[in-house]
């Protein structure tokens, strides 16, 4: 395969060949999505008779059923709330903490830094029980607010490390110039440093959106007692448990739950890609 790329004879036909092979591969790759979309528009009897991808009659009522019976509307709102809330919280808290850790000398800095870095590897299974108990003790274990807070705390250390690394590379003169002008510390951060860290902000934003939209263990545990605050992921999982035969309703519910995030991705693709690339560059 590598020879195909780096050989220099007949580049056009080689490229055509690679393009063809890649097209085939990618179509197979996204087949599950195509199948899901097709199934969501078939009737429950048709899925067993018609293995093709084009439905005979377009059963839009599957979507209505998923929206009401599987409660997708409600879960949709919950997921949006948790995602937006945790993204705002995480970006604010981690950029500040990363800025201080990356650029300031203060007693306890080394200790805090080492403690932060060393927790990057702690698996979620390790902390889920105390997190749940803590939220219960605070009376937050059955509400959206508690879920949002815990979702924010989930991956926070890695973002702090990323921000600290990014801020520590920026030249020192920036702050000194601003300080001479008599600008306050807070304003330096807000108007000078944070805008400079925009690429990293985008990275953290995107990664947290993916985190929150994908999270499952935490919302599952927290919504055990209160199904009303289920997120889409937990909702569709519960729907599967209750409805083992309704494939088309399930496919419709699945489609509903991925449409917003896929649309967001396609529209903001450049930011997604560059943002994630920033995670390894930083």
């Amino acid at each position: 395969m590598k020879r195909l790329i780096f050989g220099d004879h007949q580049p056009t036909s080689r490229i055509a060949l690679i393009s063809l092979a890649m097209t085939a591969l990618c179509l197979i790759w996204i087949y599950p999505f195509v199948w899901m979309l097709a199934t969501s528009l078939k009737s429950n009897t048709e899925i067993f008779g018609n293995p093709g991808l084009i439905p005979e009659s377009w059963a839009w009522e599957n979507y209505a059923r998923a929206w009401t019976e599987a409660n997708m509307g409600r879960y949709f709102f919950n997921t949006l709330f948790v995602t937006v809330g945790s993204v705002v919280l995480v970006t604010f808290a981690t950029s500040l903490m990363g800025y201080i850790l990356g650029r300031f000398e203060f007693p306890g800095r080394t200790l805090l830094f080492v403690a932060t870095v060393s927790t990057v590897f702690v698996p979620q299974g390790f902390t889920i029980i105390p997190v749940f108990e803590l939220l219960s003790a605070m009376g937050l274990s059955t509400g959206l607010l508690g879920l949002t807070l815990a979702t924010s705390g989930n991956a926070i250390v890695i973002f702090v490390v990323l921000f600290a690394g990014y801020f520590s590379q920026l030249p020192k003169e920036l702050e000194e110039a601003a300080r001479v002008e008599g600008v306050s510390q807070w304003q330096i951060f807000w108007y000078v440093m944070l805008p400079l860290a925009k690429p990293m902000v985008v990275t953290v934003l995107i990664m947290q959106v993916l985190n929150a939209w994908n999270d499952f263990l935490l919302p599952l545990v927290i919504t055990l007692a209160n199904p009303a605050i289920r997120t889409l992921s937990v909702g569709i999982y519960a729907f599967k448990g209750e409805q083992t035969i309704d494939w088309t309703g399930m496919a419709a519910a699945a489609t509903i739950s991925i449409i917003p995030v896929v649309l967001l991705f396609i529209l903001l693709q450049r930011y997604f890609i560059n943002g994630l690339a920033g995670a390894v560059k930083g």
Binding site: K2, I5, F6, P11, I15, I18, M22, W29, I30, F33, W35, T39, P51, A93, L96, G98, T119, V120, F121, V122, P123, Q124, G125, F126, T127, I128, I129, P130, V131, L134, L149, A150, S152, I156, V157, V160, Q185, W186, W213, N214, D215, F216, L217, L220, V221, L224, S233, I236, Y237, K240, A251, I258, V261, F265, I273, L276, A277, A279, V280, K281
Partner: protein, 306 residues
């Protein structure tokens, strides 16, 4: 007085640390200590009936075959996913990094699509795709005559782990691809030209020329991929619930089942589950240290040779 003085002098730094400290304190640092505390209790979680038992939970865990099986499956999962994900996505990245490939971005988007899809949805869609009752994959395999009877991919203990590993790699390959593409962009074009003059191609080109240049990225990418592969709970939960007969029960499922959802009617054992979490965390830490030591030694040896 002295402490107050320090606090006052660095008040700005401490104040700005506060939001991050509160969040990480609540959900990262405190839970680590609390988990160790819970691990030493006999406790069902629902009442105040909590009893200190010291290291008894750990002793029990060491004798619990279900725990060891779950641990083994977690390692199996790591070993099955991480190398495959790293190598396949690097190969794909080498292909897509070609400037002449006009459709490169479109291909990248398609490969990335599973990454932005919620894991639970992926899991559920794949249970249908892999279903032995009218699932399209079995349908295809039957049609082309590869198999005579439908395979119960997720219902048989022989095939369940490979199936879950396959779906995991499919789901997350796109993100590793993006990381590799970012790394490959730092390789100057003339390096390829020079390699071509030396007739250095294919695997040799990757191992001898490209990888050394992107080594710092490769280390970071491997770490990120490993950390992510520890969070397999959502995929396995939504595909198999850990079944059949614990056949895909990895550590996180074991912890969840012991702590919250003992469907066999026994009382939940939060202390025992916390102990399992602690033990698993320690073992992962040990593996990480071992791995980084091995990497360092390998690098030193490579430098010694060169």
């Amino acid at each position: 007085m002295h402490l107050l003085h320090i606090l006052h002098r660095h008040r700005f730094a401490y104040l700005m640390l506060l939001p991050g400290l509160i969040l990480s304190g609540m959900f990262v640092f405190y839970p680590i200590f609390a988990a160790v505390f819970y691990a030493m209790q006999d406790w069902s979680g629902f009442n105040a009936d909590i009893k200190f038992v010291g290291f008894q939970n750990f002793v029990d865990l060491f004798r619990d075959p279900i725990f060891w099986n779950a641990f083994g499956r977690s390692i199996y999962f790591l070993a099955g996913t991480v190398p495959a994900q790293l190598v396949l996505s690097l190969m794909l990245a080498m292909v897509l990094n070609n400037q002449l490939l006009k459709l490169s971005n479109l291909f990248r988007t398609m490969v990335f699509l599973p990454v932005v899809t919620p894991v639970a949805v992926i899991g559920i869609v794949w249970t249908f795709l892999l279903s032995p009752f009218n699932g399209p994959i079995n349908g295809l395999l039957l049609d082309i005559g590869l198999i005579a009877r439908p395979i119960d991919f997720l219902g048989s203990s022989d095939t369940v782990m490979p199936s879950v590993i396959g779906v995991y790699v499919w789901k997350w390959l796109g993100i590793t691809l993006i990381y590799w593409l970012a790394a490959l962009q730092t390789v100057p074009e003339d390096v390829y030209d020079a390699a071509r003059l030396d007739n250095c191609k294919g695997l040799r080109l990757v191992v001898l020329v490209v990888l050394p240049i992107i080594m710092p990225f490769a280390v970071a990418i491997t770490l990120i991929t490993m950390v992510s592969a520890l969070n397999v709970f959502p995929l396995i939960m939504s595909m198999t619930n850990g079944g059949p007969f614990f056949g895909s029960e990895v550590m996180e499922i074991f912890i969840y089942r012991t702590a919250f959802a003992s469907d066999d009617g026994t009382i939940p054992r939060l202390g025992y589950a916390a102990a399992a979490g602690v033990l698993f965390g320690l073992m992962i830490l040990g593996l990480t240290i071992l791995q980084s030591l091995a990497t360092r030694m390998a690098r030193r040896r490579a430098e010694g040779v060169a």
